[in-house]
Protein backbone atom coordinates (compact mmCIF):
# COMPACT_ATOMS: atom_id res chain seq x y z
CA UNK A 1 0.00 0.00 0.00
CA UNK A 2 2.68 2.44 1.03
CA UNK A 3 4.69 1.93 -2.09
CA UNK A 4 2.55 3.09 -4.97
CA UNK A 5 5.01 2.25 -7.70
CA UNK A 6 4.00 3.85 -10.94
CA UNK A 7 6.09 5.14 -13.74
CA UNK A 8 4.27 7.14 -16.36
CA UNK A 9 3.21 10.69 -15.71
CA UNK A 10 -0.31 9.66 -16.65
CA UNK A 11 -0.33 7.23 -13.75
CA UNK A 12 0.79 10.01 -11.46
CA UNK A 13 -1.89 12.25 -12.88
CA UNK A 14 -4.59 9.65 -12.28
CA UNK A 15 -3.48 9.11 -8.73
CA UNK A 16 -3.36 12.83 -8.02
CA UNK A 17 -6.81 13.35 -9.51
CA UNK A 18 -8.12 10.40 -7.53
CA UNK A 19 -6.84 11.93 -4.32
CA UNK A 20 -8.46 15.24 -5.13
CA UNK A 21 -11.75 13.66 -6.12
CA UNK A 22 -11.86 11.39 -3.12
CA UNK A 23 -11.06 14.38 -0.91
CA UNK A 24 -7.99 12.72 0.52
CA UNK A 25 -6.52 16.07 -0.48
CA UNK A 26 -9.15 18.67 0.29
CA UNK A 27 -9.73 22.03 -1.40
CA UNK A 28 -7.27 24.59 -0.13
CA UNK A 29 -5.00 21.94 1.31
CA UNK A 30 -1.27 21.87 0.66
CA UNK A 31 -0.12 18.66 -0.97
CA UNK A 32 3.34 17.11 -0.55
CA UNK A 33 6.04 18.67 -2.65
CA UNK A 34 7.35 17.20 -5.87
CA UNK A 35 10.38 15.58 -4.33
CA UNK A 36 8.29 13.78 -1.72
CA UNK A 37 5.76 12.60 -4.26
CA UNK A 38 8.56 11.39 -6.50
CA UNK A 39 9.84 9.22 -3.66
CA UNK A 40 6.36 7.96 -2.85
CA UNK A 41 5.58 7.12 -6.46
CA UNK A 42 9.01 5.78 -7.14
CA UNK A 43 9.67 7.98 -10.13
CA UNK A 44 11.72 11.04 -11.02
CA UNK A 45 10.72 14.50 -9.91
CA UNK A 46 10.37 15.57 -13.54
CA UNK A 47 7.64 12.98 -13.97
CA UNK A 48 5.74 14.30 -10.99
CA UNK A 49 6.25 17.81 -12.32
CA UNK A 50 4.78 16.88 -15.69
CA UNK A 51 1.72 15.37 -14.01
CA UNK A 52 1.14 18.21 -11.58
CA UNK A 53 1.46 20.78 -14.32
CA UNK A 54 -1.19 19.00 -16.35
CA UNK A 55 -3.53 18.81 -13.36
CA UNK A 56 -2.91 22.47 -12.59
CA UNK A 57 -3.60 23.38 -16.22
CA UNK A 58 -6.94 21.69 -15.87
CA UNK A 59 -7.66 23.91 -12.91
CA UNK A 60 -7.55 21.39 -10.07
CA UNK A 61 -4.36 22.64 -8.47
CA UNK A 62 -2.82 26.00 -7.75
CA UNK A 63 0.95 26.04 -7.78
CA UNK A 64 3.37 28.70 -6.66
CA UNK A 65 7.10 28.63 -6.26
CA UNK A 66 8.22 28.18 -2.75
CA UNK A 67 4.63 28.34 -1.53
CA UNK A 68 3.98 24.86 -2.87
CA UNK A 69 1.03 23.18 -4.53
CA UNK A 70 -2.46 23.22 -3.11
CA UNK A 71 -5.82 21.89 -4.19
CA UNK A 72 -7.85 24.62 -5.87
CA UNK A 73 -10.62 26.06 -3.77
CA UNK A 74 -13.04 26.19 -6.67
CA UNK A 75 -12.35 23.10 -8.68
CA UNK A 76 -13.50 22.73 -12.22
CA UNK A 77 -13.42 26.26 -13.31
CA UNK A 78 -12.15 25.60 -16.76
CA UNK A 79 -13.60 23.78 -19.70
CA UNK A 80 -12.16 23.42 -23.12
CA UNK A 81 -14.51 24.70 -25.72
CA UNK A 82 -14.12 23.67 -29.31
CA UNK A 83 -14.96 26.73 -31.30
CA UNK A 84 -17.73 25.91 -33.71
CA UNK A 85 -16.73 25.57 -37.33
CA UNK A 86 -20.06 25.52 -39.06
CA UNK A 87 -19.24 23.36 -42.06
CA UNK A 88 -17.68 20.70 -39.86
CA UNK A 89 -20.54 20.75 -37.40
CA UNK A 90 -23.09 20.28 -40.11
CA UNK A 91 -21.16 17.54 -41.82
CA UNK A 92 -20.73 15.75 -38.53
CA UNK A 93 -24.51 15.72 -38.21
CA UNK A 94 -24.54 13.83 -41.50
CA UNK A 95 -26.08 16.73 -43.34
CA UNK A 96 -25.07 18.60 -46.44
CA UNK A 97 -23.51 21.98 -45.91
CA UNK A 98 -24.16 24.91 -48.17
CA UNK A 99 -24.13 28.65 -47.84
CA UNK A 100 -25.38 31.71 -49.63
CA UNK A 101 -23.91 35.20 -49.64
CA UNK A 102 -26.86 37.53 -49.14
CA UNK A 103 -25.05 40.81 -49.03
CA UNK A 104 -21.63 42.13 -49.82
CA UNK A 105 -20.57 45.75 -49.79
CA UNK A 106 -17.82 48.15 -48.99
CA UNK A 107 -19.19 50.54 -46.46
CA UNK A 108 -18.42 52.72 -43.52
CA UNK A 109 -18.86 50.71 -40.39
CA UNK A 110 -21.66 51.41 -37.98
CA UNK A 111 -20.27 53.29 -35.03
CA UNK A 112 -20.83 50.25 -32.83
CA UNK A 113 -18.82 48.08 -35.19
CA UNK A 114 -16.12 50.70 -35.60
CA UNK A 115 -15.78 50.92 -31.86
CA UNK A 116 -15.49 47.18 -31.47
CA UNK A 117 -12.96 46.97 -34.28
CA UNK A 118 -11.17 50.05 -33.02
CA UNK A 119 -11.00 51.70 -36.43
CA UNK A 120 -12.28 55.08 -37.52
CA UNK A 121 -15.83 55.34 -38.84
CA UNK A 122 -14.83 56.93 -42.13
CA UNK A 123 -12.69 54.03 -43.19
CA UNK A 124 -14.43 51.65 -45.54
CA UNK A 125 -14.59 48.00 -44.62
CA UNK A 126 -16.08 44.97 -46.28
CA UNK A 127 -19.42 43.84 -44.95
CA UNK A 128 -20.66 40.37 -45.78
CA UNK A 129 -23.84 38.59 -44.79
CA UNK A 130 -23.99 34.85 -45.21
CA UNK A 131 -26.65 32.30 -44.50
CA UNK A 132 -25.47 28.77 -43.70
CA UNK A 133 -27.64 25.77 -44.46
CA UNK A 134 -27.78 22.19 -43.22
CA UNK A 135 -29.66 20.17 -45.84
CA UNK A 136 -31.41 23.28 -47.18
CA UNK A 137 -32.53 24.28 -43.69
CA UNK A 138 -31.14 27.55 -42.36
CA UNK A 139 -28.60 26.78 -39.67
CA UNK A 140 -26.97 30.08 -38.85
CA UNK A 141 -26.83 33.63 -40.11
CA UNK A 142 -23.49 35.37 -40.23
CA UNK A 143 -22.72 39.07 -40.27
CA UNK A 144 -19.08 39.73 -40.86
CA UNK A 145 -16.87 42.77 -41.24
CA UNK A 146 -13.41 42.47 -42.70
CA UNK A 147 -10.68 45.03 -42.27
CA UNK A 148 -9.70 45.51 -45.91
CA UNK A 149 -6.92 47.83 -44.90
CA UNK A 150 -5.20 44.76 -43.58
CA UNK A 151 -6.59 42.18 -46.00
CA UNK A 152 -7.01 43.87 -49.39
CA UNK A 153 -7.11 40.50 -51.14
CA UNK A 154 -10.56 40.01 -49.66
CA UNK A 155 -11.87 42.57 -52.12
CA UNK A 156 -11.07 40.33 -55.09
CA UNK A 157 -12.29 37.11 -53.59
CA UNK A 158 -15.50 35.39 -54.52
CA UNK A 159 -17.07 34.06 -51.37
CA UNK A 160 -19.74 32.01 -53.05
CA UNK A 161 -17.33 29.15 -53.66
CA UNK A 162 -15.49 29.19 -50.37
CA UNK A 163 -17.04 30.51 -47.19
CA UNK A 164 -15.59 33.64 -45.67
CA UNK A 165 -14.48 31.77 -42.63
CA UNK A 166 -12.59 29.14 -44.55
CA UNK A 167 -11.00 31.77 -46.75
CA UNK A 168 -9.79 33.62 -43.69
CA UNK A 169 -8.50 30.46 -42.09
CA UNK A 170 -6.23 29.90 -45.04
CA UNK A 171 -5.38 33.52 -45.80
CA UNK A 172 -5.30 35.55 -42.66
CA UNK A 173 -2.53 35.26 -40.14
CA UNK A 174 -4.63 34.83 -37.04
CA UNK A 175 -3.37 35.29 -33.59
CA UNK A 176 -5.74 36.03 -30.81
CA UNK A 177 -9.34 36.87 -30.33
CA UNK A 178 -12.34 37.08 -28.09
CA UNK A 179 -15.51 35.06 -28.15
CA UNK A 180 -18.73 35.83 -26.42
CA UNK A 181 -22.07 34.08 -26.31
CA UNK A 182 -25.41 35.52 -25.42
CA UNK A 183 -29.10 35.02 -26.07
CA UNK A 184 -31.21 37.40 -28.08
CA UNK A 185 -34.72 37.62 -29.49
CA UNK A 186 -34.87 37.31 -33.26
CA UNK A 187 -36.01 40.49 -34.95
CA UNK A 188 -38.24 40.31 -38.02
CA UNK A 189 -35.37 40.28 -40.46
CA UNK A 190 -33.38 37.56 -38.73
CA UNK A 191 -36.48 35.53 -38.03
CA UNK A 192 -37.35 35.62 -41.70
CA UNK A 193 -33.95 34.45 -42.76
CA UNK A 194 -33.73 31.65 -40.23
CA UNK A 195 -37.32 30.65 -40.90
CA UNK A 196 -38.51 31.04 -37.35
CA UNK A 197 -41.06 33.15 -35.57
CA UNK A 198 -40.13 36.69 -34.74
CA UNK A 199 -39.06 36.90 -31.12
CA UNK A 200 -37.66 33.38 -30.95
CA UNK A 201 -34.71 33.00 -28.63
CA UNK A 202 -31.53 32.50 -30.57
CA UNK A 203 -27.97 31.97 -29.49
CA UNK A 204 -25.63 34.69 -30.64
CA UNK A 205 -21.90 34.28 -30.92
CA UNK A 206 -19.65 37.28 -31.27
CA UNK A 207 -16.06 36.92 -32.29
CA UNK A 208 -13.23 39.34 -32.90
CA UNK A 209 -9.88 38.36 -34.29
CA UNK A 210 -6.64 40.27 -33.97
CA UNK A 211 -3.24 40.08 -35.53
CA UNK A 212 -0.79 41.94 -33.37
CA UNK A 213 -2.78 45.04 -32.52
CA UNK A 214 -4.87 45.13 -35.66
CA UNK A 215 -8.43 43.87 -35.78
CA UNK A 216 -8.80 41.66 -38.81
CA UNK A 217 -12.41 40.65 -38.66
CA UNK A 218 -15.50 40.78 -36.55
CA UNK A 219 -18.28 38.23 -36.82
CA UNK A 220 -21.69 37.81 -35.35
CA UNK A 221 -23.31 34.42 -35.77
CA UNK A 222 -26.97 33.86 -35.02
CA UNK A 223 -27.83 30.20 -34.64
CA UNK A 224 -31.22 28.81 -35.43
CA UNK A 225 -33.25 27.84 -32.36
CA UNK A 226 -32.32 24.50 -30.91
CA UNK A 227 -28.63 25.07 -31.36
CA UNK A 228 -26.61 23.86 -28.44
CA UNK A 229 -23.04 24.54 -27.55
CA UNK A 230 -21.46 21.56 -25.82
CA UNK A 231 -18.34 21.04 -23.85
CA UNK A 232 -16.91 18.44 -21.53
CA UNK A 233 -15.43 19.36 -18.21
Amino acid sequence: MTDTTVNSWLDVQSEVLARIHSRKWKPGELIPNEAELAVEFGCARATVNRALQAVADAGWLDRRRKAGTRVAMHPQRKAVLNIPIIRKEIEELGKVYSHKVLHRALANPLSKVAAQMKISEDREILEIHTLHFADETPYAFEERWINTGFLPEALNTDFTAISVNEWLVSNAPLTEGRLSFSATNADDRHAGMLGVKSGSAILRMNRTTWHNEINITLVTLLFAPGYQLDTLI
Copy 2:
Protein backbone atom coordinates in the same frame (compact mmCIF):
# COMPACT_ATOMS: atom_id res chain seq x y z
CA MET B 1 19.85 35.06 -39.10
CA THR B 2 20.51 31.39 -39.63
CA ASP B 3 21.35 30.76 -36.05
CA THR B 4 18.25 31.56 -34.05
CA THR B 5 19.78 30.87 -30.69
CA VAL B 6 17.11 30.65 -28.03
CA ASN B 7 16.95 28.58 -24.95
CA SER B 8 13.63 28.57 -23.19
CA TRP B 9 10.74 26.55 -24.51
CA LEU B 10 8.67 29.72 -24.49
CA ASP B 11 11.06 31.25 -26.99
CA VAL B 12 10.72 28.19 -29.17
CA GLN B 13 6.95 28.38 -28.83
CA SER B 14 6.91 32.04 -29.87
CA GLU B 15 9.05 31.36 -32.88
CA VAL B 16 6.93 28.39 -33.94
CA LEU B 17 3.72 30.39 -33.56
CA ALA B 18 5.26 33.27 -35.47
CA ARG B 19 6.10 30.96 -38.35
CA ILE B 20 2.59 29.58 -38.38
CA HIS B 21 0.99 33.01 -38.18
CA SER B 22 3.23 34.49 -40.82
CA ARG B 23 2.48 31.48 -43.02
CA LYS B 24 6.13 30.58 -43.36
CA TRP B 25 4.74 27.21 -42.36
CA LYS B 26 1.41 26.87 -44.11
CA PRO B 27 -1.65 24.88 -43.04
CA GLY B 28 -1.17 21.22 -43.85
CA GLU B 29 2.55 21.59 -44.27
CA LEU B 30 5.04 19.30 -42.60
CA ILE B 31 7.47 21.15 -40.37
CA PRO B 32 11.04 20.05 -39.60
CA ASN B 33 11.35 17.33 -37.02
CA GLU B 34 12.29 17.93 -33.41
CA ALA B 35 15.93 17.04 -33.83
CA GLU B 36 16.37 19.46 -36.71
CA LEU B 37 14.61 22.27 -34.87
CA ALA B 38 16.73 21.58 -31.80
CA VAL B 39 19.86 22.10 -33.89
CA GLU B 40 18.44 25.21 -35.51
CA PHE B 41 17.39 26.74 -32.22
CA GLY B 42 20.50 25.59 -30.44
CA CYS B 43 18.67 23.80 -27.65
CA ALA B 44 17.86 20.27 -26.55
CA ARG B 45 15.24 18.20 -28.29
CA ALA B 46 13.28 18.01 -25.05
CA THR B 47 12.90 21.77 -25.14
CA VAL B 48 11.57 21.69 -28.67
CA ASN B 49 9.28 18.86 -27.65
CA ARG B 50 7.85 20.87 -24.78
CA ALA B 51 7.15 23.82 -27.06
CA LEU B 52 5.61 21.78 -29.86
CA GLN B 53 3.37 19.95 -27.44
CA ALA B 54 2.08 23.22 -26.07
CA VAL B 55 1.40 24.56 -29.55
CA ALA B 56 -0.30 21.32 -30.50
CA ASP B 57 -2.43 21.47 -27.35
CA ALA B 58 -3.57 24.89 -28.45
CA GLY B 59 -4.70 23.34 -31.71
CA TRP B 60 -2.19 24.83 -34.13
CA LEU B 61 -0.26 21.66 -34.87
CA ASP B 62 -1.13 18.04 -35.51
CA ARG B 63 1.49 15.58 -34.41
CA ARG B 64 1.82 11.88 -35.11
CA ARG B 65 4.62 9.51 -34.42
CA LYS B 66 6.76 8.73 -37.37
CA ALA B 67 4.47 10.81 -39.58
CA GLY B 68 5.82 14.03 -38.12
CA THR B 69 4.33 17.36 -37.18
CA ARG B 70 2.25 19.46 -39.51
CA VAL B 71 0.40 22.73 -39.26
CA ALA B 72 -3.27 22.13 -38.55
CA MET B 73 -5.59 22.55 -41.50
CA HIS B 74 -8.39 23.95 -39.41
CA PRO B 75 -6.86 25.93 -36.67
CA GLN B 76 -9.79 24.31 -34.90
CA ARG B 77 -9.10 26.63 -32.15
CA LYS B 78 -9.90 25.70 -28.68
CA ALA B 79 -10.94 28.22 -26.16
CA VAL B 80 -10.63 27.88 -22.45
CA LEU B 81 -13.94 28.65 -20.92
CA ASN B 82 -14.11 29.78 -17.36
CA ILE B 83 -17.14 28.06 -15.98
CA PRO B 84 -19.35 30.63 -14.36
CA ILE B 85 -19.37 30.57 -10.60
CA ILE B 86 -22.25 32.84 -9.83
CA ARG B 87 -21.17 34.22 -6.49
CA LYS B 88 -17.73 35.09 -7.83
CA GLU B 89 -19.12 36.65 -10.99
CA ILE B 90 -21.43 38.87 -9.05
CA GLU B 91 -18.80 39.88 -6.55
CA GLU B 92 -16.40 40.69 -9.37
CA LEU B 93 -18.99 43.09 -10.71
CA GLY B 94 -18.77 44.85 -7.37
CA LYS B 95 -22.25 43.78 -6.38
CA VAL B 96 -23.61 41.99 -3.38
CA TYR B 97 -24.47 38.37 -3.86
CA SER B 98 -27.46 36.75 -2.23
CA HIS B 99 -29.73 33.85 -2.97
CA LYS B 100 -33.09 32.50 -1.98
CA VAL B 101 -34.27 28.91 -1.97
CA LEU B 102 -37.71 28.98 -3.56
CA HIS B 103 -38.49 25.31 -3.52
CA ARG B 104 -37.14 22.19 -1.97
CA ALA B 105 -38.67 18.76 -2.14
CA LEU B 106 -38.03 15.08 -2.41
CA ALA B 107 -39.79 13.91 -5.50
CA ASN B 108 -39.80 11.48 -8.34
CA PRO B 109 -37.91 13.01 -11.20
CA LEU B 110 -39.64 14.03 -14.38
CA SER B 111 -38.97 11.44 -17.02
CA LYS B 112 -36.81 13.90 -18.90
CA VAL B 113 -34.68 14.48 -15.84
CA ALA B 114 -34.55 10.80 -14.99
CA ALA B 115 -33.36 10.05 -18.49
CA GLN B 116 -30.64 12.66 -18.33
CA MET B 117 -29.53 11.46 -14.92
CA LYS B 118 -29.86 7.85 -15.97
CA ILE B 119 -31.79 6.82 -12.90
CA SER B 120 -35.19 5.18 -12.60
CA GLU B 121 -38.26 7.38 -12.38
CA ASP B 122 -39.53 5.84 -9.17
CA ARG B 123 -36.44 6.77 -7.22
CA GLU B 124 -36.84 9.93 -5.17
CA ILE B 125 -34.36 12.70 -5.65
CA LEU B 126 -33.95 16.12 -4.12
CA GLU B 127 -35.23 18.99 -6.19
CA ILE B 128 -34.13 22.52 -5.33
CA HIS B 129 -34.97 25.82 -6.97
CA THR B 130 -32.81 28.79 -6.15
CA LEU B 131 -32.87 32.38 -7.27
CA HIS B 132 -29.55 34.22 -7.31
CA PHE B 133 -29.42 37.97 -6.84
CA ALA B 134 -26.88 40.67 -7.63
CA ASP B 135 -27.71 43.65 -5.43
CA GLU B 136 -31.33 42.53 -5.00
CA THR B 137 -31.75 42.17 -8.78
CA PRO B 138 -32.45 38.65 -10.03
CA TYR B 139 -29.36 37.36 -11.79
CA ALA B 140 -30.05 33.73 -12.49
CA PHE B 141 -32.58 31.05 -11.67
CA GLU B 142 -31.32 27.60 -10.83
CA GLU B 143 -33.15 24.31 -10.98
CA ARG B 144 -31.17 21.50 -9.50
CA TRP B 145 -31.65 17.83 -8.87
CA ILE B 146 -29.43 15.96 -6.48
CA ASN B 147 -28.98 12.22 -6.43
CA THR B 148 -29.68 11.57 -2.76
CA GLY B 149 -28.88 7.92 -3.21
CA PHE B 150 -25.31 9.02 -3.60
CA LEU B 151 -25.35 12.10 -1.41
CA PRO B 152 -27.73 11.40 1.50
CA GLU B 153 -26.14 14.20 3.56
CA ALA B 154 -27.84 16.65 1.24
CA LEU B 155 -31.15 15.78 2.91
CA ASN B 156 -30.00 17.24 6.22
CA THR B 157 -28.38 20.34 4.86
CA ASP B 158 -29.83 23.78 5.04
CA PHE B 159 -29.17 25.52 1.76
CA THR B 160 -30.26 28.95 2.86
CA ALA B 161 -26.90 29.65 4.46
CA ILE B 162 -24.65 28.11 1.83
CA SER B 163 -25.66 27.80 -1.80
CA VAL B 164 -26.20 24.35 -3.21
CA ASN B 165 -23.31 24.76 -5.58
CA GLU B 166 -20.87 25.73 -2.90
CA TRP B 167 -22.04 22.92 -0.67
CA LEU B 168 -21.48 20.45 -3.46
CA VAL B 169 -18.06 21.84 -4.23
CA SER B 170 -16.96 21.10 -0.72
CA ASN B 171 -18.89 17.88 -0.19
CA ALA B 172 -19.20 15.96 -3.39
CA PRO B 173 -16.32 14.15 -5.00
CA LEU B 174 -16.65 15.54 -8.48
CA THR B 175 -15.02 14.09 -11.48
CA GLU B 176 -16.35 14.79 -14.91
CA GLY B 177 -19.31 16.47 -16.43
CA ARG B 178 -20.89 18.00 -19.42
CA LEU B 179 -21.88 21.59 -20.03
CA SER B 180 -24.18 22.89 -22.67
CA PHE B 181 -25.44 26.33 -23.52
CA SER B 182 -28.49 27.27 -25.47
CA ALA B 183 -30.99 30.07 -25.85
CA THR B 184 -34.60 29.79 -24.78
CA ASN B 185 -37.65 32.00 -24.47
CA ALA B 186 -38.66 32.73 -20.90
CA ASP B 187 -41.99 31.21 -19.98
CA ASP B 188 -44.34 33.09 -17.66
CA ARG B 189 -43.00 31.50 -14.51
CA HIS B 190 -39.35 32.11 -15.30
CA ALA B 191 -40.06 35.59 -16.61
CA GLY B 192 -41.81 36.44 -13.38
CA MET B 193 -38.93 35.26 -11.27
CA LEU B 194 -36.26 37.01 -13.29
CA GLY B 195 -38.38 40.12 -13.56
CA VAL B 196 -38.47 40.25 -17.33
CA LYS B 197 -41.12 40.09 -20.00
CA SER B 198 -42.46 36.69 -20.92
CA GLY B 199 -40.78 35.50 -24.08
CA SER B 200 -37.49 37.28 -23.45
CA ALA B 201 -34.46 35.47 -24.78
CA ILE B 202 -32.42 34.00 -21.97
CA LEU B 203 -29.22 32.03 -21.93
CA ARG B 204 -29.62 28.57 -20.47
CA MET B 205 -26.78 26.52 -19.11
CA ASN B 206 -27.19 22.84 -18.49
CA ARG B 207 -24.71 20.90 -16.47
CA THR B 208 -24.41 17.31 -15.39
CA THR B 209 -21.81 16.02 -13.01
CA TRP B 210 -20.65 12.44 -12.64
CA HIS B 211 -18.56 10.54 -10.19
CA ASN B 212 -17.40 7.36 -11.81
CA GLU B 213 -20.56 6.21 -13.53
CA ILE B 214 -23.00 7.79 -11.12
CA ASN B 215 -24.74 11.05 -11.83
CA ILE B 216 -24.49 13.24 -8.79
CA THR B 217 -26.36 16.32 -9.82
CA LEU B 218 -28.03 18.03 -12.71
CA VAL B 219 -28.46 21.77 -12.93
CA THR B 220 -30.18 24.15 -15.24
CA LEU B 221 -29.29 27.79 -14.91
CA LEU B 222 -31.33 30.49 -16.58
CA PHE B 223 -29.49 33.78 -16.77
CA ALA B 224 -31.27 37.09 -16.83
CA PRO B 225 -31.22 38.82 -20.23
CA GLY B 226 -28.00 40.63 -20.98
CA TYR B 227 -25.85 37.88 -19.60
CA GLN B 228 -22.79 37.24 -21.67
CA LEU B 229 -20.37 34.36 -21.59
CA ASP B 230 -16.87 35.46 -22.50
CA THR B 231 -13.74 33.65 -23.43
CA LEU B 232 -10.39 34.41 -24.99
CA ILE B 233 -8.97 32.38 -27.81
